[in-house]
């Protein structure tokens, strides 16, 4: 992962599109399967992860000169874990319903490779501001995929967007049915697969054509 001479803007947008953590690095798939049945949970999860990645990158970057290399990983994990626990507590306090739906997956942000990956690959070697932007960019990239998957799954799976029914009743009466597969985890697999396919077939977006 070269930090090279990227501008701050590039640092930020790289994570969102070109080197999207889900579509390009295929990280964070587990939670992308679990929380994308509804847009609401996907958005909250995306925000939570973006906050954690941004904050952890910032903190790690600030500490980067002090962290002893021997206990590097454990320090990173401690920082991330603490952030995740705080976020989880906040969700339980203020967004209880969503927290219930997200269940363990907020806690599992700790194991999300994106967070540790960015801390290791970027924050340890870069100043705070680019690190923060990189963290936020990657978090947003993850959120982007999550929301995209959730839009498809919620629309096809239960005919709703953000919990609001959008499929007209007339359709349902005419024989339209919701696609149950989309509410199951394999549905997300297919959607993510298709998204990666789509992204790679867009001109200039495929890492294979680099």
């Amino acid at each position: 992962m070269s930090n090279g001479n990227l501008t701050l803007k590039e640092t930020f947008f790289r994570g969102i599109w070109k080197e999207n953590p889900v579509a390009y690095q295929v990280l964070g798939i587990c939670s992308a399967l679990a929380v994308t049945v509804q847009m609401k949970t996907a958005i909250v999860m995306g925000i939570a992860l973006t906050l954690v990645t941004g904050a952890s990158n910032l903190i790690i970057s600030l500490l980067r000169k002090q962290i002893p290399p021997t206990i590097r990983i454990i320090v990173e994990l401690t920082v991330i874990a603490s952030l995740v626990i705080v976020i989880d507590q906040v969700l339980q306090a203020f967004l209880y319903d969503i927290s219930k739906q997200l269940s363990v997956f907020v806690g599992l942000i700790i194991t999300n490779c994106i967070v540790l990956g960015r801390a290791e690959a970027f924050a340890l070697a870069n100043p705070p501001l680019p690190s923060l932007l990189d963290g936020l960019g990657n978090g947003l990239g993850y959120s982007l995929v999550l929301v995209a998957v959730a839009v498809v799954r919620e629309l096809l799976g239960s005919g709703k967007l953000m919990g609001i029914a959008v499929v007209p009743q007339v359709w349902l009466e005419a024989g339209y049915a919701h696609m149950g597969l989309m509410t199951l985890a394999p549905g997300a697999f297919f959607i993510i697969g298709l998204l990666v396919w789509l992204k790679n077939s867009l001109p200039g977006a495929s890492h294979e054509q680099k």
Binding site: L181, G193, W197
Partner: protein, 383 residues
């Protein structure tokens, strides 16, 4: 000269590269070679070739499926009229409902086939002729046509084309399509109301399949017979179910035909039957509930549900099955084993055949890998 040949020769220039319609070359070539099987002079040794080709190969599968399909149409009509109508009328009623499903399946599927063939610049492959007919046979007659279209699209695109097209697919496309429909639209694919057309003469509750019987105490074999599914009836097929699965007799007849002509591997079919018989027998002697399919015994397991259709026509799809002989035995056996296992211990998916075949599809490369390692190890090395 054949008048059709004249037509093709006249239209030929339009579809050849500089022609205006050259972008539809795929569909043109597919049509032309369907009517006129080409036979070009060989370029490389051996210069002599067998007369068998993929069109012949696949047409034999279609041939074997034909009685199953026709009987399926008849049975759909028979269930609708509850047997109280003329043979022709029953067949006509069935055909009126089944043919649209087949037409949609073929039509939509061919659209994708041709699209991908054109994009990738290869010929339209014959394997789809089988896929397009197999899917309707696994569906209930009440399935909405748009779901058929969606299902076959998923089967062809996600089950086959994403892997690189015919020959590279891991899963049987027809079963992939069916699994997609099963999980996407469970209401159209399961329950008691979907296996028989809504009929004025018979109430829908009577449309249960044999596999949904059980669980209310008593002995399963008697319960199944009491529910109207005597072994004889299950074997010959005049009972509600998917369009093509009801007649175990005709399915096994097709299997026999395919085995004799060697189009399908007898190892898979026999292995599957042995798997069912052995496993069902095993369960019969295991302590367990006597009122579920756990203890239904080999014959009921063999003749009910989609096992006969699945093992004869889906499991034997060579692309998604192992390519080694020993692998085929194991593959067939395990399909039989898992079919009974699913029926016995997970009554939620009473129809375990689809999932067992798909499951074993995924393991086919592994089975091949192991059996190749073993065969290679037995050879006197020559390196």
């Amino acid at each position: 000269m054949n008048p059709l040949r004249k037509v093709f020769e006249k239209t030929d220039p339009y579809f050849k590269p500089p022609g205006q319609l050259s972008r539809f070359k795929g569909i043109y070539t597919a049509t032309r070679t369907f009517f006129f099987l080409p036979s070009k002079v060989t370029g490389m040794a051996p210069h002599v070739r067998d007369h068998i080709d993929l069109k012949r190969f696949m047409s034999f599968v279609i041939l074997a499926l034909l009685p199953v399909t026709l009987f399926g149409m008849f049975n759909v009509g028979y269930q609708y009229h509850n047997g109280a109508a003329g043979v022709f009328e029953m067949f006509y009623t069935g055909a009126r409902h089944v043919l649209p499903i087949i037409v949609v399946s073929y039509g939509v599927g061919f659209f994708w086939e041709i699209l991908f063939a054109t994009l990738r610049g290869h010929e339209v492959t014959e394997g789809f002729l089988v896929t397009g007919l197999l899917l309707p046979l696994t569906l209930p007659p009440t399935i909405p046509l748009w779901q058929v279209a969606l299902g076959i699209s998923f089967g062809v695109v996600m089950g086959k084309e994403v892997f690189g097209g015919t020959g590279r697919n891991l899963l049987n496309p027809a079963l992939t399509a069916r699994a997609f429909l099963f999980f996407s639209y469970p209401v159209s694919m399961s329950g008691n109301g979907v296996w028989r057309l809504p009929s004025p003469t018979v109430d829908a509750v009577g449309g249960a399949t044999a596999l949904s019987v059980g669980g209310t105490g008593g002995r399963i074999q008697e319960m199944v017979v009491d529910a109207g599914f005597s072994l004889e009836r299950l074997f010959f097929g005049l009972h509600p179910g998917s369009i093509g699965e009801t007649s175990a007799f005709l399915c096994f007849l097709g299997a026999l035909f395919l085995m004799v002509t060697r189009v399908a591997s007898f190892r898979i079919i026999i292995g599957g039957i042995v798997g069912v018989v052995v496993t069902a027998w095993g369960f019969l002697y295991l302590p367990g509930p006597t009122d579920t399919w756990f203890s239904a015994g080999p014959l009921f397991h063999l003749f009910s549900g989609g096992f006969a259709l699945g093992i004869s026509f889906m499991a034997t799809d060579p692309v998604s099955a192992p390519g080694t002989d020993s692998g085929r035995w194991i593959y067939g056996f395990l399909i039989g084993f898992f079919t009974v296992l699913l029926r016995a211990v997970n009554p939620a998916y009473v129809e375990g055949v689809m999932l067992s075949i798909l499951f074993m599809n995924i393991f086919a490369p592994l089975i091949d890998h192991i059996s190749l390692k073993i065969t290679a190890g037995r050879r006197i090395p020559n390196v």
